[in-house]
Amino acid sequence: MTSPSTATEVEDDTTSSSTRSNRPDRAARWARRAPLLPALIFVIILTQVPMIVTLVISFTNWVAFRPDDRSFAGLDNYRTVFGDPEARSAVVVTIILTLTVVVFSLLIGLGIALLLDRQFLGRGIVRTMMITPFLIVPVAAALVWKHALYNPTYGLFNGMLRLVFGDNAPTRDWISDNPLIAIEAALIWQWTPFMMLILLAGLQSRPMDVVEAARIDGANSWQIFIHMTLPHLRQYIELAGLLGAIYVVQNFDHVFTLTAGALGTANLPYHIYQTLLSAQDYGEASAAGVVTVFGTIIIAMFALKTAFSLFQEETR
């Protein structure tokens, strides 16, 4: 990662001098905080306040077209969420979608990163080609996959099959036949470059002299990969996987565009959007929101732990 920071020394200097004087100067402390405060206050107002409001509404009976009929609901909305088969299905879909997309993009991304770590003609061009999917606006990518690739009559996938196999081509209705896989494939296509970029950076930060020394000692490529490359990559794999998971859990664009949540593909973000939009049930949507937050917190705790270990290594 990065070399031990030089600025830490400045910090150590100032702390030691302040302990020497042994008089915590209030004005000086606030002067230190001042540059941080605008950002901190901004983030608290725009992220924490809405969350607290969501929490409050989730304990309220509140439907949009009966605005004056608000009352305390206790845990009713949560009972509705856990009793509602659609909401439960949304939880399951979210878990499957996130796991599948993250695991497959990580594996494919790792394979490609290993290939790109080698010298070959046009490596820069291949790297640029690999990044391209990540640079397509997600809604646009979902639209293109739906209409230009998956469409059964004029999409590229069936078109290629007809080109190769003629009239008896094993064509299929890609989205209707496997709706969730269709969403996952489009997402894996967009997220593999993300994983690849982080893993490639990890590979290129390997201490190559150690690897060469192992090779001199007679280690073969497979042994080097298992015993040296993978352990070194571990924290990069964790970082890529967890950051990816945070974004994929929240995915709305692909579900919205490819299936509009139909055919059992509604994940939690889409389900909440739908509850707000069609049922206008503010209380239930908020309760589903709180459930999503708790689900995310479980992933987030692992993410924070990983970030923390990386961070400590950096500021050591």
């Binding site: 990065t2 030089t6 830490t8 400045v10 910090e11 230190r32 905080r33 605008p38 950002a39 983030v43 725009l46 809405p50 969350m51 409001v53 969501t54 490609i112 290939l115 080698r118 490596r123 291949v126 790297r127 080609m129 690999m130 990044i131 999917p133 640079l135 397509i136 606006v137 809604v139 646009a140 990518a141 639209l143 293109v144 230009a148 690739l149 009559t153 078109g159 950076a201 002299d209 859990v249 929240q250 709305f252 664009d253 565009t257 939690l268 973000p269 909440i272 707000l276 503010y282 929101g289 999503t292 937050v293 992933i299 987030a300 993410a303 924070l304 970030a307 990386l310 961070f311 950096e314």
Partner: protein, 300 residues
């Protein structure tokens, strides 16, 4: 060839360890050249597979609708601009301007707020600065969808629905944590002598930030700006719920474009190309910055 290598190796044994490593590296290159070609071709193949949907999107956008919607792909149909013309007729300029406003203004705000904050978290650190860092990171893990109802109700109350500045503020909050993490890791590497010199000169906070630190951490500021721009430009959910006809952004326009126009493949592809173009240009121009940004500065 192999006999000279053998001689090289025996000669190398008398040399220092470092030189030996170099020799072995060179020796390994020759027998592995076939595998280098095979793996190189494989990399090219996979790269082409991944870029194919994008190439197909671009090609289709230049086809006439009748050539685009054929049952077998018509790779060599004549290239026309009809798709772009119909896209243009649908009036994409206001949403594109809205997207540019939301992305550029929010990115500027993010840097303006994140830069001093990163200073207080890396150089002249506040007490409990790690707690502050992790507070920022944790907000990034809260799903936006869980906050969307209160945001809608608050915007309704403040008469800020369908107002582009609602999105500017929300995108700023959405991207601030990423920028703070990135800039913190860059500021922590500013050479201590430089800061001491500024202190001796009696430079105030503002001058230290602008004329001493900013020039050194420019690559970090560029990486953070790039990522914030891309995430704001791509955002759909908030924009869809909080805007409609006036402040709708390009992604919102794109979703409406399909449902209102029916299906015109070339047109949809042309729209997707145009709307993705700013991100593609920014991303290609700053490929190296992409990794730093995506990993919040953890990977350099």
């Amino acid at each position: 060839m192999s006999s000279t290598e053998q001689e090289d190796l025996t000669a190398a044994e008398r040399e220092t360890q470092a030189e030996r490593v170099e020799e072995v590296q060179q020796m390994n290159r020759t027998p592995r050249s076939t595998s280098t070609i095979v793996f190189g071709l494989l990399a090219w193949l996979i790269g082409l597979i991944f870029v194919a949907p994008v190439l197909w999107m671009v090609l289709t956008s230049f086809h006439a609708e009748t050539d685009a919607a054929t049952s077998t792909p018509n790779f060599f149909a004549p290239l026309v601009l009809d798709g772009y013309r119909s896209f243009w007729d649908a009036g994409p300029l206001p949403p594109l301007i809205n997207s540019a406003t939301a992305s550029l203004v929010s990115t500027a705000l993010v840097i303006l707020l994140a830069f001093p904050a990163a200073y207080a978290l890396s150089i002249k650190r506040v007490e409990k600065w790690t707690d502050a860092m992790f507070f920022f990171l944790s907000t990034k893990m809260l799903p936006i969808v869980a906050a969307i109802l209160p945001l809608y109700l608050i915007a309704l109350e403040l008469n800020m629905l369908d107002n582009i500045f609602t999105l500017v503020f929300l995108y700023t909050a959405m991207n601030l944590p990423i920028a703070i993490w990135m800039l913190q890791s860059f500021l922590a590497e500013v050479p201590v002598e430089m800061l001491e010199a500024a202190q001796v000169d009696g430079a105030g906070l503002l001058r230290t930030l602008v004329s001493v630190i900013a020039p050194v951490v420019m690559p970090g500021i560029a990486a953070a700006s790039l990522i914030c721009f891309i995430f704001s430009w791509n955002e759909l959910l908030l924009a869809r719920v909080l805007t409609s006809t006036v402040a709708g952004t390009a992604p919102v326009f794109l979703t409406g474009f399909v449902t209102s126009q029916g299906l015109f493949l070339a047109q949809v592809c042309a729209a997707s190309v145009v709307i993705s173009l700013p991100v593609l240009i920014a991303g290609f121009a700053a490929q190296d910055k992409l990794v730093q940004g995506l990993s919040m500065g953890a990977v350099k």
